[in-house]
């Protein structure tokens, strides 16, 4: 089984977010970038599946050369090879187009992504890729099994779970419970030195969205405690100060 895992390169969750004076891009000085945590889960599951029943795992990223350390980490964790589509990942449609065009030329049995990336959190790339390729897609999977050429995927739904059986090829978005991410070890890091990382030029495509600006959420204000014996005071505060009632 050939599995492709889509990897995005995102700021670490502990990063202090600051924007350029025009409010249009993130200041990356001092920011540590990591593999999107959900993609790391997808990668781990891909490795588990191929370790069990054979095959190989390729990782793909749409990004400029600065994302290569992230791909090397994916190789250190255990992917066999990596592909970088050499372009700035402007928006979801652009990224999905690049990945879909790559898959058209190099087909895979299973394509795993994270349920969303933790930078923009739109979670739209997997279903866009599926649509462009005309293959099934399952968003937000809980568990992923592959048996006899078909996938069995559990999804969480309101008040229960849904079990989907689906023929391959297929694209799925992975949530936390799909696998326990692996920490690269020394041997993996050493072998990543010589694993292939291929750079592919992007295809031309339209861009449908552009960034108007970023704003940080207002700082959290302090908490006012109201004595349980004085509910009237709470109502008054909500009315006069917060103006919500």
């Amino acid at each position: 089984m050939k599995i492709l895992v889509c990897i995005s390169h995102v700021p670490d969750t502990t990063t202090k977010i600051n924007f350029t004076p025009d409010n249009k891009s993130l200041i990356t000085q001092g920011v540590q970038f990591i593999i999107n945590p959900y993609d790391e889960i997808a990668l781990t599951r891909a490795l588990e599946l191929t370790e069990k029943s054979g095959g190989s795992v390729t990782v793909i990223n749409v990004g400029e050369a600065t994302t290569e350390p992230t791909l090397r980490k994916a190789l250190a964790i255990g992917a066999a090879d990596a592909v970088r589509i050499n372009a700035q990942p402007r928006e979801a449609f652009f990224v999905a187009t690049q990945i879909a065009e790559y898959i058209k030329k190099t087909p895979y049995d299973l394509i795993l992504c994270g349920r969303e990336s933790i930078d923009f959190n739109s979670g739209t790339v997997p279903s866009m890729v599926a649509e462009m390729l005309g293959i099934p897609s399952v968003a937000i999977s809980k568990t992923i099994q592959v048996e006899n050429g078909k996938a069995v995927i559990e999804r969480e739904i309101e008040g229960g779970k849904e079990v989907i059986e689906c023929a391959l090829p297929l694209i799925a978005g992975c949530s936390e419970s799909v696998a326990e991410p692996r920490i690269p070890n020394m041997r993996g890091i050493m072998s990543a030195r010589t694993k292939p990382l291929v750079v592919v030029e992007p295809v031309q495509t339209e861009t449908f969205t552009k960034v108007a600006g970023y704003d940080k959420p207002a700082p959290r204000s302090s908490v006012k405690l109201v004595d349980a014996a004085e509910p009237g005071k709470l109502l008054e505060l909500l009315h006069t100060e917060k103006k919500v009632i």
Partner: protein, 391 residues
């Protein structure tokens, strides 16, 4: 308590590191958060070495990271080795000590002074943690002055008979292999590899330590131990044998100390923003800020010292005196930061809720072993004046 550690990097020293060095560092950092932080406080309180970590330490690459891969090593550079030590000691000096001993005091001498047969027999198993090693140099009456050692062996044809004892030996209680330094009949120091089970060789544990409680320390006792001659290092004689190993371990300790200091600083910084007194976070008071500002200044200087020393070591140019300077400066720096951080934590600082007191007590060993603080000062003094003040 969850480990909320974030590493300080005031001078963007990460930019001096290669991507691979950062990957190594981050992987060990993640591993420490996952495996060491949740269990270390209890292990230290109970004075137990967490043996279950051995497999993970081997897997993450803490055993012999800079030795060639053909012997099971990692084939990494010296800066990567230093960063591994930094991260492990961020977790606990005792765990770092176990890794230092295995890598620099056991695997390194077997690789550097050993025969091809010795390398092939021991190194791969030490790299995977299947065998653990210890290093016996210090004796009850010879600490700072190891050349006076009494342990000795007599030639008996195809084997030698070893007598004597060693004290303060990290990993001794559970080690499968011991690299032991002893004198031959001419009074020259030789290195021998002992294996657990050799008749007359015992390793009683030293109890009652208030420092490095999560690391096992013991004695090595040799009572007419019959050691085959093929277990003697063929390629080294004299004090330069053990000193070569110590150079490598001390280098790692210089980095390790930065890890312990970072953990104390990080905890103190967070606490100073969260703890309110007189209606303000204590970090708002000048006296607290002075402590924190001095801590980050000293950590930044120590980081740069380590990085430069690592580059020199990669080029095979770091001198023993340069390593002494870094070991002495950085361990002392870490100990002072631990003490100041303890003050910032107030009463909470003496509990196991925070890592501070454990680091502080650990560092009291680190400032003594591998050459005491004062002995390293004498080494620097001798290096700059050309005059020895030891005797």
């Amino acid at each position: 308590m969850t480990d909320r550690f974030t590493a300080p990097d005031y001078y963007w020293i990460d930019e001096l590191l290669t991507e691979e060095q950062k990957l190594v560092r981050n992987s060990v950092r993640e591993w420490v958060k996952k495996e060491i932080s949740p269990i270390i406080e209890q292990a230290a309180q109970k004075a137990e070495f967490p043996k279950h970590l051995i497999k993970g330490l081997a897997h993450i690459g803490a055993f012999g990271p800079y030795l060639p891969q053909q012997y099971g090593g990692g084939g990494l550079d010296q800066v990567s080795y230093g960063l591994i030590m930094q991260e492990l000691e961020r977790g606990d000096s005792g765990i770092r000590s176990t890794a230092s001993v295995q890598s620099s005091l056991v695997m390194y001498p077997i690789y550097t002074y050993g025969s091809e047969g010795q390398r092939k027999k021991y190194l791969p198993k030490l790299a995977t943690g299947e065998w653990m090693g210890c290093f016996g140099l210090t004796e009850p009456d010879f600490g700072s002055n190891p050349s006076g050692m009494l342990s000795n062996f007599k030639d008996k044809g195809d084997h030698v008979i070893l007598n004597g004892s060693k004290m303060w030996i990290s990993n001794a209680p559970f080690a499968d292999v011991a690299v032991v330094w002893a004198k031959d009949e001419k009074g020259e120091i030789n290195g021998l590899i002992l294996e657990r089970g050799m008749k007359g060789f015992t390793t009683p544990e030293t109890h009652g330590k208030w420092s490095l409680r999560a690391s096992a320390t013991g004695e090595l006792v040799f009572d007419n131990v019959k050691v085959p001659k093929e277990n003697i290092f063929p390629n080294v004689k004299g004090l330069k044998g053990p000193l070569g190993c110590l150079n490598s371990a001390r280098y790692g300790i210089s980095w390790g100390a930065v890890g312990a200091a970072m953990d104390c600083y990080d905890s103190a910084l967070r606490y100073s923003k969260e703890r309110i007194q007189f209606g303000k976070p204590i970090g708002a008071f000048q006296l607290t800020q002075k402590k924190l500002a001095e801590m980050i200044t000293e950590i930044t200087k120590a980081q740069l010292l380590c990085w430069r020393l690592g580059v020199l070591k990669n080029e095979n140019r770091a001198t023993p005196a340069q390593i002494s300077l870094a070991k002495r400066n950085n361990v002392n720096m870490a100990l002072e930061i631990a003490r100041e951080a303890r003050q910032i934590h107030g009463g909470m600082g003496i509990t196991g809720e925070y890592p501070i007191m454990r680091h502080m007590m650990n560092l009291e060993s680190v400032i003594t072993y591998e050459g005491t603080h004062d002995i390293h000062l004498l080494i620097t003094g001798m290096d700059v004046t050309g005059i020895s003040a030891f005797e």
